[in-house]
Symmetry: C2
Subunit: 211 residues, 2 copies
């Protein structure tokens, strides 16, 4: 009995260490924004769930109320919506960033956006209620939330500049440069959507590029 207990403790610890290891990317990410001590971080360990999401599986579906926020530990997610019977991909999440159907997440209305896995993904999930709890009880978490969304907004504005000032070719080249792995792992139809052009146009453009 004692030994079993010990055994259990041991396994538990091992599992926790393994989990902590999986939090490394998340910790690195949030440390850019707020100075967290080990103690601050503890407040989140219990609340984060680690899930594996297989390729093409849906993380948040159309019509669903978004209750989950994901941090992409491995793999690529995409955000799209159904438009005229077609899927329009608005975003491909780079590794080690947050993703959710934000309009639904903040308004708690049914989502028009779908989030699904482009490749097999490992996601760190935090539920909205837990996040709200953290926000309400730890000012540092609220600050973190604000800082992260500020950065996301700035990045979003950068993308708008790119639509205004750059040709599709330039946008593609810059994407290649910024996320070389993405092209390897993400089908071109999603890349094309992301760039705001048709798949065939992207294909033509790839052929004529001079390096």
């Amino acid at each position: 009995m004692l030994i079993l207990g010990y055994q259990h403790f041991f396994c538990d610890l091992e599992e926790k260490l393994k989990a902590l290891d999986k939090f490394q990317n998340l910790i690195t990410f949030i440390s850019q924004y707020v100075d967290f001590t080990g103690n601050d971080l503890k407040s989140i360990y219990d609340k984060v769930e680690i899930i594996q999401l297989k390729k093409n599986r849906i993380f948040i579906d159309e019509g669903e109320i978004a209750e989950k926020l994901a941090f992409t530990n491995k793999g690529y997610l995409r955000v799209y919506y159904n438009f005229d019977g077609e899927e329009i991909t608005r975003d491909i999440t780079p590794l080690h960033t947050f993703a959710t159907a934000l309009p639904s997440f903040v308004s708690q209305k049914p989502s028009f956006e779908v989030i699904s896995a482009i490749t097999d993904c490992e996601l760190l999930i935090i539920h909205r209620n837990d996040l709200e709890f953290l926000y309400s009880n730890y000012p540092k978490w609220e600050r973190l939330g604000r800082r992260i969304i500020e950065e996301m907004f700035v990045e979003s504005q950068r993308r708008i500049y790119s639509f205004i000032t750059e040709t599709a070719e330039t946008r593609y080249k810059k994407l290649l440069k910024q996320y070389p792995d993405m092209i390897r792992d993400v089908p071109l139809k999603y890349i094309a959507d992301f760039l705001g052009i048709k798949l065939q146009s992207l294909s033509r453009l790839r052929k004529t590029i001079e390096w």
Copy 2:
């Protein structure tokens, strides 16, 4: 002396009442996001400065570190940057919203963006230090900041969808519908930039539109 004192008190009060009146739009705006009591609001009255910015005057200049956040009480601001000797307008702020050169404001590095007045403007200004003070000392303000930036992010994503899925004509029509006043007060060259097309293309498009 007594009378002078009384006079002064009277003027001061009147001025304060007048100022409060000017806060109405701001109060309405922030009340969408957080429930504020009169007391909560007091924490900001002293910190807000009301300025008049004449047409074409610059609010935040290139190279400057953005220290000010503006709420547009009257008039339109635009956000642009100098690209190849040309000014590229990324944003035209609708009435009663916040505007600053956010990349500079959050990073405290020199701004590549310029913010200037398209029309005569009345702006409610809050300084970054004061805002940081509010954020640090009143959780409600931090929450407000997060909620507002979340909304701005969602709006920004909507605009990215419009670049991906809509033609310039559709974008123009929707802009007209959403902000009918804007077209009256804002030169078309800025509208064209905002839509991501050239002035001449916008002009051609306006001619051929069927209503």
